[in-house]
Amino acid sequence: MKFRTFAAFVGPSVALMILFIAMPLASVFVQSFQVTRVIYEEIEVESCTPGFVAQTCVTETRLQPVVDDQGDMVVETEFVGFGSYINVLEPDRLAEALGEASWSRLMGIDFWKALRFTLTFTLVTLPLVLGTGLAIALAVNSVARSIRGQVIFVSLLPFIITPVIGALSIRWLFIGDGILTALLEWALDRDIAMFAQAWTIELMMLIYRVWHVAPFAFVVFYAGLQTVNSDTLESAVVDGASRFERLRYVIVPHLMPLIVFVALIHLMDAYRVFEEIVGFSSQAHVISLQWLTYDLLTPDQSGSRSISRASASAMLTMVGIVILLVPLLRKTWRDHRLGRI
């Protein structure tokens, strides 16, 4: 294919990605190295606010932004090098915590706390999603054809449901004396508060994510099972392979590319876990890397956003995902060199 033809085919897509992904990313990269500040001056002002019967007027010292002739705030932008990265990573407190070998001190630093949860979440849900998905696919593949359609339909529900709604529906089952909490309390005969400590919240998030993603793994694996070569399976039976051996040596190798595919997609999605934090309002106990970025970007009570620190945290998050993807990228590169891609 000539380059011009190739460019014509790929052009629109690449243009969109450059405009809406690469350019924002570049600006985030630049912003992580600089801080933009408003210039303030201290002035004496009289302010009046209502009381119940009369106004309360006080004269107070107030920090007021300096404005220019057009009435816009004067801002200065300063290059801070890795200053914002240091503010996010807090190496002093990290060294202190490591020096004391104190896990709880380490978990007192937001970034490392978020990293700990994000990695745990990603690595724990991965095998669960793959295992559950495969189990459902095998089970569905063995039920009678007459009800298979309905079973697939029900199985797909958790995947298609809007994530925010899904998380909320699980939350309603558990929050306060939600019915499942009530059921647990009845079964264990003790008072349970699912949202009162970190580990139960984390557990609920893990369960929610597996519930939400397992159907995707299932439907991909199920599609793969339809193409398993029945001759190979039959000859395996003739060779006296047990059911488990057939699974282990015929079916799983056949599904391997699909397993890699699902694992890859899941790795990327789980690493940017975010909806769960919002849906379960877990920020007091557990936070994730993307939530940390989001939180820094959200205007605080004084209306300012920590753009620089947020950018730094975003870049660090990205470095993490690239590290996770390296093995895969290397494999893709080898395939490409061998001309298989």
Binding site: V35, R37, V38, I39, Y40, E42, V45, E46, S47, C48, T49, P50, G51, F52, V53, A54, Q55, T56, C57, R62, L63, Q64, P65, V67, G71, D72, M73, E76, N87, S104, M107, G108, I175, G176, A193, M194, F195, A196, Q197, A198, S281, Q283, A284, H285, T298, P299, D300, Q301, S302, G303, S304, S306, S308, R309
Partner: protein
Amino acid sequence: MALSKFAVATAAALMATGAWAECAFENPVPVKALTAGFAAWKVVTASMAECGNFEAELDQDFRLKQPAAFEANPSLYHIGGVSNSPFVPLYDQGTIRPLDDLVEKFGQDISPIQLIKLDGNVWAIAMMVNAQHLMYRSDILDELGIDVPATYEEVLDAAAKIKAAGVVEYPMGGTYKSGWNLGMEFINLYLGMGGEFFGESFAPAVNNDTGIATLETMKRITEYLDPEYLVSDSTYVQQQFQQGKIALANLWQSRAAAMDNPQESQVVGKVGMASAPMGSVRPSSTLWWDGIVIAKNITDEEAEAAFQVALEGMDSETITANNDTAVWLVDGFVPGAAAQGAIATAENGAAPFPASKAMGLMHTALGNIVSDYLTGATSAEEALAKVEAAYTTSAKDAGLL
């Protein structure tokens, strides 16, 4: 948004039959508002919508959305519903307009108490005041022979007795949701004990004995709360009250009327209102005002229309029809039973919320970090040191220090 849309539809229907709803002013230009979502705002925006051409977005996260929305040119909203602290960023970035000329032109009915003045100009028109104060189940206190508690020590004693009697699921409720709510609880108690947040030139000063005493009191309170207190906001506490699950709470006055709403509440007529518990200096509460501002980046014509619409929304007719929904500042308001707690709090000397840029940063830091101490992850001193460090980092980023 939705309620007002409904009102627009109703108004349009009425207009078709020739009967204009209460609005005395027929609004010619489209006007949009972004306000908080509690009951008083629902009432006021619905009444504004009667003037036609009006759309309101009611959002409890309004404080996060307003600064960016008002900075746009043209501004995305004409009217902003604000209170003490969300007012500050809007004023600082210069995206709201002084209202003196509008007040002079249209504000015959505004009572002087409603004018929010700063540096000699009027910037906002307040419609109501709000404060956190003690709400209690009068039937339970009577039954157990407990007097209405006046200080937090008495509140804790009462809570212990209620717990021992086992009449409700949890003796107390509290708006301890991490973030804004939790920060607010710290501020209430700390101010009540006479604490100061800042030293010289806005350096943080919360890591002191008062701060530690505040945290310790908070921890003692949490023993009587639903263990899921870190996710409980005002709505959640209001529901706990309505479902008869709690007996005491320091809750917003704007929630008081909901206790007697028969459709939702199982405790109609059983919830009493009293002053916020006294700290060593003043009540553990702050006084807030809620009111409207008008965007700067809109035409003068739009500003005039928006201002008139806003005034129509908070006129005496609307207020008298919804007397108990809030503690209104508008003429015609008659303080009822629901207002007594807030009035007592003010009479006991509660301070207005000390809104400022620095306070906003401090509030954010407190809201995020106090939970570390409550969950037992850190000690009180460590938590306060972390608050000061977080405040310092963000104040440096913002240019305050």
